[in-house]
């Protein structure tokens, strides 16, 4: 990396945030780290309270002050904000001039989240990806690698979050060739090109360089299905090939297959080893990367904490119980999304329950929280949201 390391906007007020996010061992644990985490959270809370009138009022109405965050046990009392809130309201903790990037989420309902990032937040989050790739030994900068990207062929001004992510994923291994699966049709739209993907994979297999496949898992699945339907023989990609998915099955929920089935399909048709097939979980409202371990579980990295909350009472639940997935992390300075409740249902599990050996807990996503449509003939909110108004 030739750029400067990312710096928090105020190195005094956010010193602990800097220190926490500089920590390069993604899945470390320990008392010291917990204390550092709380210190960073205290600074983060104070930062947003001072800069976002909405957040200040939220804290005041709850009678909460940053000093209350002494240990990680106090985190559950920190007032939270639902990701859905950001879909309807722009809340900034930085002057508009400091906005480095703003992203819209590629959600299925009509409303999109608008999240604003300053330079620190986005680059800090990207560096976490660097740390994780390094942890798994995937940083092979000098090794020419072919890429098949299941994402949108870029165009200037195109703001979809996942696309942005994928572009910078190319830096960990030298680019030999890049093939995009969702071709830009030239009039602002994209079209999935399965034939192009198959041809690319075939030529990659022949060329014999390691292959990296990133992006939406749905189109990977469609490609493999098309290969099977066309009778294309299974391919053998280089053994250091890597697949890393993200973005979920958005828009293709009806055709979603379970992960084990998809991974078996990949292993069979492309000969990628199972422990090099990984999924990633992330969202525009919370950019911390959650990457599957070798056993395909999402372990929580050192820079965040995950809590599960009861869908009726909002009480924090222990291991093994399903509820709202919520993330706490002081990495974000542009918007007070440091304690965000997602629209997903999940459950948290103890680290011992995963054989990969990582020391942090992991979470399993169970699906969306809530309904996209009512069972009765009364219209549901999500349906109304899809209407252009």
């Amino acid at each position: 990396m030739t750029e400067d390391a990312p710096r928090v906007p105020d190195s005094t007020a956010l010193a602990s945030v800097q220190e926490l996010c500089d920590f390069a061992t993604p899945y470390a644990t320990g008392e010291a780290l917990d204390q550092l985490f709380c210190a960073a959270m205290r600074q983060c809370v104070a930062w947003h309270a001072a800069r976002s009138p909405f957040y200040a009022r939220l804290l005041a109405d709850h009678g909460f002050v940053a000093a209350q965050l002494e240990t990680t046990n106090d985190l559950e009392h920190l007032p939270f904000i639902l990701a859905n809130f950001f879909k309807a309201h722009e809340v900034l903790s930085i002057p508009p001039g400091d906005v480095y990037l703003h992203l819209t989420s590629s959600g299925t309902s009509g409303q999109k989240s608008q999240i604003f990032f300053d330079e620190w937040t986005i680059r800090g989050a990207q560096r976490m990806v660097d740390f994780i790739f390094a942890h798994y030994g995937w940083t092979t900068v000098t090794e020419p690698t072919n890429y098949l990207l299941y994402s949108y062929e870029p165009q200037p001004g195109f703001k979809v979050g996942t696309s942005y992510t994928d572009n910078f994923l190319l830096k960990y291994a030298q680019v030999n060739r890049v093939e995009y699966a969702l071709k830009n049709t030239g009039d602002g739209r994209h079209e999935f090109d399965p034939f192009g993907c198959i041809r690319a994979l075939q030529s990659f297999a022949e060329e014999g360089l390691p292959v990296r496949i990133f992006g939406f898992p749905a189109f990977m699945h469609f490609t493999l299905e098309r290969m099977r339907a066309m009778g294309v023989a299974p391919l053998k990609l280089h053994p250091r090939s890597l697949t890393f998915f993200g973005g979920g099955w958005k828009g293709h929920q009806d055709q979603a297959i379970a992960k084990p089935a998809l991974y078996a399909e990949i292993a069979r048709m492309l000969a990628v080893p199972d422990e090099r097939i990984r999924d990633g979980f992330g969202s525009v409202e919370h950019c911390i990367p959650y990457v599957e371990c070798s056993m395909h579980e999402f372990h929580v990295p050192v820079w965040s904490r995950v809590q599960i909350r009861d869908v009726r009472t909002m009480a924090v639940l222990g291991y093994g119980r399903p509820g709202y997935l919520s993330f706490i992390s002081p990495y974000i300075t542009s918007v007070p999304a440091h304690h965000v409740i997602m629209g997903d249902l999940a459950q948290l599990e103890a680290p011992e329950n995963c054989r990969c050996g990582l020391a942090t807990p992991f979470f399993r996503v169970l699906g969306r929280a809530g309904l996209s449509r009512n069972k009765s003939c009364a219209v549901a909110a999500a349906e109304l949201l899809r209407r252009p108004s």
Partner: protein
Amino acid sequence: MSQEKPHLWQGQWLADSEFEARLASLGEVTAQALAEGLPTARVLDACAALGERLRESSAERQAALGILQADHGLAPAEAVAQLEEIAAFLGRDGLEEKLRRELGSIDPLTPTRIGFRVDAFECYAPLGILAHVAPTNAATVGSLSVVEGLLAGNVNLLKTGGQDSLLAQHILAALGACDPSGGVARHIIAARIPSRDEARLRRFLAVADGVAVWGSEEAVSELRRLMTDDVRFIEWGPKISFAYVAASHAADPATFAKLADEIILVEQQACASPQVVYLETADKDELARFGARLAAALGVAGARKAPPPLSSAEQAEITSVTEVTRLESHLGLTQVLTDAAGSYRVLVDYRPALRASPLYRTIWVKPLPQSEIVTVLRPMRRYLQTAGLACRSEDYAALVTAFVGAGVLRIAELGSMLSSYAGEPHDGVYALPRYAQRISLQTGATLAGVAALGQLLPPQPTVPKQRPVLTKAEFQTAQVDDAFADLYFKSGGSSGDPKLSIFAYDDYHRHMLLAARGLYAAGLDPGRDRCMNLFFAGGLYGGFISFFSVLEMLTARQFPMAAHADTAEVVRTIVEKRVNVLLGMPSYIIQLFQRHADQLAAYRGVEKIFYGGEHFTPPQCQLFQEKFGVALVKSATYGSVDAGPLGYQCRASEGSVHHLHSQLHGLEILQLDSDQPVAPDETGRLVFTSKVRRGQNLDRYEIGDVGRWVADECACGIKEPRFELLGRHGDVFRIGTMFLNYRRFVDTLGDALGYAGEVQLVLAAGAVEELQVLVDKSAPEASIVARALLARDHDLWEAVEQDRLLRLTVRQVPAGELQRTPGSGKLRGVIDLRIKGGG
């Protein structure tokens, strides 16, 4: 029926593998059923029968209640209420009302003349094979939609969801079983197919001509993907409803009680349940206060009914919306009001935009001044359904105008948002026309005289009811429900005390329509004829009034003269106004022609006479033709006040041969002295069974006339059965060990002697029974009359001359001496002095 056999295929239960095997024949099987046709009356009968079964303690009721409780999780009382809703929908009155309002007729599939001066027929026809893709977990929507499909004559394919119960299949199987002909069952296939099973769903729906589908736009577009573009989609999309409280009612305690009831009643699950309450205000504090009072009312009302258990997804939806609203309160945009237990949520939102609530006692409270109604609601136009209003009557019109302008489809009183009436449009349309197509026939003059195509087809045989013959006396004593007692007419009949016949307006209109068709078949030409209505009016008599209605329905030119005493004025009008058709009773008409013979003979403009009540004799008809130029003399209708029109003459009918109004009645002809059907040529008693009569039973009603079947086909082309009237049962009398018929005497005197006057028979007891024949002065001398009678009737000759069992006398008397019925003035044919009260 069982979980192993979840598919209903034309009355049979099939397992998955069996269903799969049958799918290949779906096209053939449905085409056959469609070709068979499905008379609407049969569907109505089956529905009425099922409705009754579901209300009594039957196997069907028990099974349905079982499914509602076990699979739908309803409490016993709720299950009973749900079943009652289904039974109420199936009731005959409600379905007939629905047919009338939505398709214009309770016989919508029969091509019918659109007017009597136009040679065009119209009717509805089924769309064909109609598929219904039921909403998941809404228990009865799918099966009731199939009932609507059946009413329009369609073959119906119902798809229920993979997780749904078998309630729909069960109800439809029971419905099919309620039609003995099996036709209804053959028009139903109900299959359980999960939406994911695209291949099977595609095959199932491939034969459909139309698809009724519920659900979101997403669900609908997924279905469209599976089908070709030419299939008609009938979308019953998701809807949103709201309450509106005018400022005048913002402080009324009743308003809050009603709101709480609407919200709690079905936990807002109905499309007509309110998801938002709008208050007529722009003031935040006022809105907040209103919200607080509503919260209090919900607390009170909610305590009486426990909230239902929610799925985790439903609960998560509620919590998400509530928590976001709570966050927005820190922006000053909202207020969240809830109780400690979280049993309700009042979400006060100062922004007026309409939005959906996650239901289950979650209600938005928003501001909406009247002037902003259209602009605020406009973006949601496609989803708007019901507005529940609480306002003053003077504000009602303006508010309704605003809501309708915004796109609201239903406006109800607050407190009654979930009620509906038979035939009410649903989501802005009538369902039945959407499940049908409108057919037109241009016939030219080919079908002159025919009013409905059904007349040209052999009628459906009716199974006689198993009950004793109903006499006039019994019919008269039966009670009629006030709901069906609209019109009261003096009951007809030549003898006895006049009683009243009672009709619902619907029956009256139906009767008059059929009588109009009868008159049309008999030769009245509404395009050309100028008719004078000479029937009697007043004193509750129905004659003039009913023919007024008949001529009005025919859109025939009418001079409503009635049996006016000033016959000179009547004839003057006939001549001056070039009247060519007379309708009335023979006695009056005869008087008219006798008193003003010269004028009418000179005029020769009366072309047609349609008579009612008594009959004209052949000599009388001949006289009309020769002297006055009357070319056509036919009965206006054959019927009685009690039973309505029973039969009609056509252009080809002679004498007293009539076609049966088979749309209204079934006819049996029973032997004179037993209740067995007659032999083909045998004279017997006419017994009618009414097919359509509200609130009264006319099953096997003995009209008092005798007649016989006429088996050969009629030259006019109409295939409704024919019968010949042979007089009153009272015309038939027993004397001297024989049955004699009064009519026979009249006809004999007419044929043999050209006698056109009145005849009365008096029966007396004595050493030997005596038969007195009374004739008027126009008859020849008594002995000639007697000789003519004996010569023509061998039975009579035997009894009188040979066996000396009977004494025959003939007397000439003045017309005034003849006995008549008090009231109508009709001549009494037979006076039986042997029986008490016969004199």
